[in-house]
């Protein structure tokens, strides 16, 4: 122990302090023992840990997601946030860098979540590749192909997926092929990627063609831990385009929230604009401030 004293004074102090109760019981007089006992119990890590655990198991935790007050948070106008984000993204691959929006909700921890699809006034993805699982040669297959699906069929799709070739971003299925799909047991492959068609996510539909059309320009979003995250625009978008997309998104989310069952109350609490490589800027709802650059300067690459 003396060696620690010379090398690490802080370490030695820590050791001594935790050893202290042991010394006292044997060597120091009884007059001080009451006081020391209290200190000993307090500084004893084992005793402390035990007490904490018990109290934790009693409590279930807060019912709602805790959301801090935004009173002191620095918030930005849209154009100012864009100016920073465009600076952060300078020289990045223009096709990969995107604006993202994170919409925080004031909501309960349990209960239904918002989950929907949106079509922006200005499309974010240039093209999303869609796979449709339906009986080949049927009317649905022809319609889906006409609507712009890249991969249509049953067995051939299953084979490709099993071989690890997943060349699509979305997957739809027609109810007629659902038994075949379940038999193929693709859940393990498609499930983690979020591509497994299911009636719950609205990807098992009768009218495949119209859904394909909708999906091609649409973005799927869902609420996770009281936050909805979705890409909102390409980096080349002008502030006006981004504003239109943002407005549409928030309106739709508000509509979604009010469309849930009556007892569930969800409110938009904070809107954060971010980008692929950038930090998150909390938006204050303004479009621009006096110091913002011209909107034309914030457009293009």
């Amino acid at each position: 122990m003396s060696s620690y004293g010379t090398v690490l004074p802080a370490a030695a102090r820590a050791i001594l302090s935790s050893c202290r109760p042991v010394y006292r019981q044997t060597s120091i007089g009884s007059a001080l023992s009451g006081f020391q006992q209290v200190r000993g119990a307090k500084s004893n890590p084992q005793a402390r840990g035990k007490g904490k655990k018990e109290s934790k198991s009693d409590k279930k935790g807060p019912r709602e997601f805790r959301q801090k007050s935004l009173k002191d948070v620095e918030q930005f106008a849209l154009c100012d946030a864009m100016q920073y984000l465009r600076a952060v993204e300078v020289g990045r691959e223009p096709t990969t860098s995107k604006y993202e929006v994170h919409i925080r909700l004031r909501t309960r921890r349990d209960g239904p979540v918002i989950r929907n699809m949106i079509r922006f006034p200005h499309a974010v993805q240039t093209e999303s590749r869609i796979c449709v699982i339906c009986p080949p040669g049927s009317k649905h297959a022809k319609d889906a192909l006409a609507a712009g699906a890249v991969l249509v069929g049953e067995d051939e799709v299953f084979e490709a997926v099993k071989a690890g070739k997943i060349e699509f971003d979305r997957c739809l299925a027609h109810p007629d092929s659902l038994p075949a799909l379940n038999k193929a047991a693709l859940g393990r492959v498609l499930g983690p990627r979020g591509l497994m068609p299911s009636a719950k996510t609205g990807t098992v539909v009768e009218d495949v063609a119209s859904r394909v059309e909708m999906l091609r320009g649409g973005t799927v979003y869902r609420e996770r831990d009281a936050v909805i995250r979705l890409p909102i625009g390409q980096l080349a978008f002008s502030p006006e385009q981004l504003r239109d997309n943002l407005r549409t998104t928030i309106e739709q989310i508000k509509k979604d929230a009010s469309g849930l069952t009556d007892r569930v109350n969800k409110q938009v609490y904070e809107v954060v604009l971010s980008s692929t490589n950038g930090p998150g800027f909390s938006l204050n709802g303004e479009f621009k401030t006096d110091n913002s650059p011209e909107t034309s300067a914030l457009t293009g690459l």
Binding site: Y4, L8, A10, A11, A12, A14, I15, S18, C19, K68, V73, E74, Q83, Y84, R86, A87, V88, V90, G91, R92, H102, R104, D225, A226, V227, V272, P279, G280, F281, P293, E294, S296, A297, L298, G300, L301
Partner: protein, 206 residues
């Protein structure tokens, strides 16, 4: 979502975008002089790895370019990273109408061209600066000299903030050492106790 305090702390890094090396404003159509015409575009080309003198160019992109972009949002800036290490790293500066008076001296006698740079429009003149074996600070001083970019003065608030952030960073280093010592001490003590217990067991067995 990330903890609010963490997010706000991270957001303080935008100070690095506002201030530092490269926080300067290029001459724009209103502030241009006869000597320094407005800058319309920048293009940087460098290779992925650092040998053959590509390091400074990448650092220039990392350090200076975001600041330039922040202060000159209307100037388009593109970066091309190539796999070809033998290529000369270069920065192409696009001037409106004519070159600045200092540009020829900066370019030097050795003319290079950059095949990755977008072609200049008819009204644009380009100056291609050779960046080989230059540090990003040297690159910046050349860019500044060639374009006549005017440095943005750091405001008093930003300076105060910088000081505050530096103090926090310094304190974080100290705290890290302190906590490390405490954790190490605790581990050492546990190990000693375990050893002592082992010896008691041995004694009992005997």
């Amino acid at each position: 979502m990330v903890n609010l305090f963490k997010r706000m702390r991270k957001l303080k890094t935008i100070l690095d975008i506002r201030t530092g090396l490269g926080a300067a404003i290029f001459p724009n159509p209103t502030s241009a002089t006869k000597e320094f015409p407005p800058v319309t575009r920048l293009h940087l080309t460098y290779a992925r790895k650092i040998y053959n003198g590509h390091q400074g160019a990448r650092h220039f992109w990392r350090n200076c370019l975001p600041r330039l972009k922040y202060h000159n949002p209307a100037v388009r800036m593109t970066v091309q990273q190539t796999e070809d290490q033998s290529l000369t790293p270069s920065l192409t500066i696009y001037f409106a109408e004519r070159l600045s008076s200092t540009a020829p001296a900066i370019i030097g006698s050795k003319k290079i061209s950059d095949k990755h740079a977008p072609a200049p429009e008819s009204s644009e003149k380009i100056a291609v600066v050779d960046l080989k074996d230059l540090t990003y600070k040297e690159i910046w001083s050349r860019v500044q000299a060639a374009t006549g970019a005017e440095e943005v003065r750091t405001s008093a608030e930003d300076e105060a903030e910088r000081k505050r952030l530096d103090a926090i960073t310094a304190k974080a280093g100290k705290d890290r050492e302190r906590i490390q010592a405490i954790r190490q001490a605790k581990k050492d003590q546990e190990r000693m106790l375990a050893e002592a217990r082992g010896e008691v067991e041995k004694m009992k067995e005997l």
